[in-house]
């Protein structure tokens, strides 16, 4: 598996994957949007507001999946010092933060008509807000430390410590009495949603997953390019400072 952690191999592989991943993301998004906005029925209790679920739930799934990926990449970076793991973790954070912000905003937009409030300090909502702050803290830490090696280690530790929040988010609706409803898709006894709601939701979830993959690949390629540019600029600057010195040495000799 670590064979793929070679940046050059990753570059070649991602070149092949990129168009397919983006094509799948766009296609699934189009199908998912049509299904969720037009073809799916209204709920007998929630009415048409159930359609917010098709953007809210996938964003929530991705917010947690991104953080899981971030923590896993942090772990690999910390233990095996793989450069590509740092690159992947750094590239994931803004995407995860965006999904988390969307989960909070769309949840709020659903909560107002259904619960009668934009926000409640219940365990699920609060733990997702903590996740959002973890993403912000992670990105802030990367930006605050100039030394890339030190930044990678510090952020990896933060990512691993923050991973404790993931089971809290998932099981918050079981452990505490929350305003947020319990799980209806990822359950031990199978989804409790009717197929007419479940399938468009799964298509949107898949679309978000491909969108994340596409964004991640492009962001990782950008980071690799920027590191190469930086290394090349440093090499040139060093050779420029060495060149006059060697000429000087030659003239003295």
């Amino acid at each position: 598996m670590f064979g793929f952690s070679n940046p050059q191999r990753f570059w070649r592989l991602s070149s092949v994957l990129l168009p397919w991943v983006w094509a799948a993301a766009v296609l699934l998004l189009l199908i998912g949007l049509y299904w969720s906005l037009v073809a799916s029925p209204a709920d007998y209790q929630q009415g048409t507001s159930v359609r917010i679920m098709y953007v809210h739930v996938p964003a929530s799934w991705m917010s947690m999946a991104c953080y899981g990926f971030l923590a896993a990449a942090g772990f690999v970076s910390l233990i095996w010092r793989h450069v590509l793991a740092d690159v992947a973790a750094k590239a994931t954070a803004p995407i995860g933060a965006t999904f988390t912000a969307l989960a909070l905003i769309t949840g709020s937009l659903w909560g107002k008509p259904m619960w009668g409030t934009w926000w409640a300090w219940d365990a699920r909502l609060t733990s997702v807000l903590v996740l959002f702050f973890l993403y912000l803290g992670y990105m802030g830490l990367w930006a605050a430390i100039d030394d890339r090696v030190k930044a990678a280690r510090a952020t990896a530790i933060l990512a691993l410590v923050g991973a404790v929040n993931l089971p809290i988010i998932k099981f918050s609706v079981d452990w505490w009495n929350t305003l947020h409803q319990g799980s209806s898709v990822i359950r031990a006894d199978g989804p409790s949603l009717h197929a007419s709601f479940l399938y468009p939701l799964l298509v949107m979830g898949l679309a978000y997953m491909f969108l994340f993959s596409g964004l991640l690949l492009v962001r990782m390629r950008t980071e690799i390019l920027n590191r190469r540019i930086e290394a090349e600029q440093r090499r040139r600057a060093a050779s420029e400072t060495l060149a006059p010195a060697s000429q000087e040495g030659a003239s003295h000799g």
Binding site: L33, V38, G47, T98, L109, W110, L211, L215, R219, T222
Partner: protein
């Protein structure tokens, strides 16, 4: 397509949720590709010795 506008009292909330999702994810995709393009141009310039 007429169904698109028949969201009753929830239309504002639904369109706000989908609109914000589109703006946030579309914006992220735009800036991601923009940064990638800029990095590629810079690398090409460096390779050309500029």
């Amino acid at each position: 397509m007429g169904d698109l506008l028949q969201f009753g009292n929830y239309a504002g909330y639904i369109w706000a949720a989908y609109g914000m999702s589109a703006v946030a994810l579309g914006g992220l995709a735009y800036f991601t590709w923009h940064a990638y393009g800029a990095a590629k141009r810079k690398a090409r310039k460096l390779e050309a010795g500029e």
